[in-house]
Amino acid sequence: MPHQLGVTIRAQVAAEQVAPLRDWLAKVASHGTADSLFAFAHMRGLHFAKLFVLEEPADSGGQPIPASLVLMTEVDAPLRSHLAELIDVAGDGIDQAFGYCTDYPGAGAHRRVRVAWLRRHLVRASAVYVNTVGRGLQQIRQEARLRDALEDYLDQGDWDGCTADDVRRELQAYVAGRADLAWAMKPPAPPSLRFRVREAAHEVGVPLLLAPLLPALPFVLLPWAVLLRVSELRERPVTQRPALEHLDELASYEDFVTQNPFAVVGFLRPGLLRLVTMRAVMLATDYGVRHVYNHADLAGIKTIHFARWVPLDGWRRMTFASNYDGAVEAYNDDFIDEVWWGLNATFGNAAAYPPTRWVFWGGASYEQQFKNTLRIQQVPVPVWYTAYPALSAVNIENNARIRAGLRGEMSPADTEQWLSLL
């Protein structure tokens, strides 16, 4: 199975093209369903896609930042074939969308030219969270079909008087006997050897590289903490509330299917201290999501399929984007209850965030300030695609466990537990 990528493509939109682009996006807005214009459903290994506009900020606090169009996809590796498919399969939509950008070569240009253009406009993420690293689209779909087949089979049977073992044996025989499901008796293939070697090297290499710096840490940490605390004391509570029109626009693209898109963008607080802090936190985040939170759980949150942190405009701004289950209110509550520390460490460096205390505290714990600021910074995502609109991340993990339980020996208690997954 391939590993997953969080691909970001961003291109500048001339000021006079912003309104027409917004109108066009509103017209092709997908409201939670795949649309034919982009043919996303026909792209290989594409889990999610979103397309949205970042408007020119009214007050950039320095060099103006022009408006831009952003395409984000979560897709199975490799990148090369994904970029090619964006032109070869989704080309109609991509040509029209990026046609609003200043230097897009246009639909008439050779496909190689357009693919190269996409590649040139790739933006590197600081960290990409994948719910379960290595679980490709094909596996997710196959395992969902497996679960459906097993549920239907259970519906048809009369299981009175059977033990859990009897039922499991019957299910195993049923799956083994169906040519279209026989793959389920084997474990899913792991990601490529190259990927695994790279990740293992990173997992070991980063601590090894940092180890020699440990003795210097107290001398760095202490002044840094004091400086940061001084900076925190200058922060002001968030008093702004989101405008109703903005809330309505966001809501018009939400809550059609099991998952929702999420994208926020905000300026970093000014100064080198915040920049360094943010970069350090992002390095830690990258390490954390690759080696610790890489299976069905982001520090206690089990409802996120993918998430990414992408620095923009030379680290002047930061985007956080995700695909999550359920409503934004529940998502925010999970943030506040489960990963407040991580949010505060990251977003605490963003200008419009409630004041933090000693990096990790405060911030998200101011519930209404936090919810208001996220909603204010949230960007409407008019075009959004999901490859599995009915499946929650918990469902997907459950399906994988159903498959895993078809193999091997099991105690009666484990068998009963496994059957309760169905």
């Binding site: 549920e151 259970l154 519906d155 049977g157 299981w159 059977c162 033990t163 859990a164 009897d166 039922v167 509330r241 989101p242 109703l244 809330l247 309505d248 809501a251 018009s252 939400e254 809550d255 059609f256 099991t258 206690g300 089990k302 289950d325 359920g326 409503a327 209110e329 529940a330 509550d333 209850d337 489960e338 714990s365 101011y366 519930e367 209404q368 919810k371 009915a390 499946l391 929650s392 918990v394 469902n395 459950n398 009963e416 059957l419 309760s420 169905l422």
Partner: protein, 454 residues
């Protein structure tokens, strides 16, 4: 946290469901001419029952929607201080999708409160100890409304308060115990008053957002000061949001489904099977006995039992994961674990004040609840717990009792050994026929409204 509640300023519905006042009628109205509407408030003021100890035979409460407050002349910059959900209203199209008010529950088909009918501006709630008393007071209300030139009224008479809701189940058993009210003294677990009334610390120890205004706009000093000491006056203090939804129940369809689903292959029927399936959907037996304590048959001795948890029934073998009461208040049954789940559940409590209605004009429930935070409490419970087909690991199971079946959610799964039982294609048993988000102001705020143009 020791909080002194200003019970004499809070409307009584916060402290009591008026269970001794078995007769009730609700009147939704449009405010035509604002000054006349204020005349109505002048008349109402001495009759509003408060949360202070109360022994009257008749209780009257009053609440307003955002449009109603504007009609009465509350300035926009004050109305802006209310929650976005309240200002947008229950029938905002995105909200309708969110709440499951689509298809047969679409507001365009509502009996009242919908986009095409008269605007729902205000709500009068009348409770009385006897039917004649209720009728006499309702006649007086009509007279007063007429005198004030109020039009577009919808009268919503409640059924005499009994022990069961229309499907036949004992209802309203589990209520949050509010810190600062008398019952709290005996309770193991209480919920801060700020969860249900504005101007007091909520479950996060913070003050929920509320409409503040400069003291200069209240020259007669009718409103209470902002408790944070900002110098502003607090129009929201001692008030709270009131969710009112008329939910029509298809009682016949409900029991027909139970009959069909439990009929044996030979066509025979055992009435205990149909009651058992319905109980699995509710999570309690008709008497009210909770399934986790009485898994196999009804136990009327446990009728009002609310002292239970789900930790010994993690798989839902006694009470299904998808059962109504296990979703409306999951207690200790959510990830990551019991203690965190209890805390999380307490941040999504509703103070329920429902009354049944019918059979005249249909049969159902006036779902009424109070909440300090519409998004975190009512809307969260409605969307994320009741209507979500993937609630707590499920796949296609919206609430079996009240859930919407569009576009998904028509399955009900009953965990069992060795194999679960799955019911598919559940019809919709409940549909929304009307509703609005109201604000139930403190008495001082009503007094402020009554004098606004004088």
């Amino acid at each position: 946290m020791a909080v002194r509640l200003d019970l004499g300023d809070i409307q009584g519905l916060f402290a009591r469901g008026y269970r001794e006042h078995r007769y009730a009628q609700f009147t939704v109205f449009s405010i035509g001419e604002a000054p006349a509407g204020r005349g109505l408030l002048e008349w109402l003021l001495p009759h509003i029952a408060t949360a202070a100890p109360f022994s009257g035979d008749v209780a009257l409460q009053v609440a307003f929607t955002a449009s109603g407050l504007r009609q009465l002349g509350l300035p926009d910059h004050v109305v802006t201080g209310f929650a976005a959900e309240f200002r947008q209203g229950m029938t905002n199209p995105n909200r309708s999708r969110f709440l499951g008010d689509t298809e047969e529950s679409d507001p365009r088909g509502w009996a009242w409160g919908g986009p095409d009918g008269p605007s729902a501006d205000g709500l009068l709630m009348l409770y009385a100890t006897g039917p004649a008393l209720l009728e006499r007071w309702q006649a007086e209300l009509r007279r007063q409304l007429g005198k004030a030139g109020v039009t577009g009224t919808t009268e919503l008479p409640a059924r005499e308060l009994g022990d069961t809701e229309p499907f036949g189940f004992h209802d309203g058993i589990s209520q949050p115990i509010i810190a600062g009210l008398p019952k709290a003294a005996r309770a193991m677990r209480t919920v801060p008053a700020g969860e249900f009334i504005l101007g007091y610390p909520n479950a996060r120890g913070q003050l929920t957002g509320r409409p503040l205004m400069p003291a200069s706009e209240d020259p007669r000093r009718l409103l209470l000061p902002d408790p944070t000491g900002s110098g502003a006056v607090d129009f929201g203090r001692n008030g709270t949001y009131l969710v009112f939804r008329q939910l029509e129940q298809d009682v016949e369809g409900f029991w027909q489904f139970m009959d069909a689903a439990t009929r044996r292959p030979d066509g025979s029927q055992d009435s205990s099977d149909r009651a058992a399936l319905a109980a699995k959907m509710v999570g309690r037996w008709p008497s009210g006995a909770p399934l986790v304590k009485a898994p196999d048959h009804d136990a009327p001795a446990l009728a009002d039992d609310n002292d239970f948890a789900y930790r010994d029934d993690a798989r839902g073998l006694a009470c299904p994961i998808g059962a109504h009461i296990r979703r409306a208040n999951p207690r200790d049954s959510l990830a990551p674990g019991p203690a965190a789940s209890l805390d999380a559940s307490d941040r999504h409590r509703l103070l329920r004040r429902a009354r049944s209605y019918g059979p005249a004009g249909g049969t159902g429930l006036y779902f009424i609840c109070l909440a300090g935070d519409l998004a975190r409490q009512f809307e969260f419970v409605q969307h994320t717990w009741l209507n979500s087909a993937t609630f707590n690991g499920l796949y296609d199971d919206a609430d079996p009792l009240t859930g919407s079946r569009h576009p998904v959610g028509a399955t009900f799964t009953v965990p069992a050994r060795p194999v679960r039982r799955r019911y598919r294609g559940l019809p919709q048993f409940v549909r929304t026929r009307g509703g609005a988000y109201f604000f139930l102001p403190g008495v001082s705020a009503v007094r402020y409204l009554a004098q606004l143009d004088t």
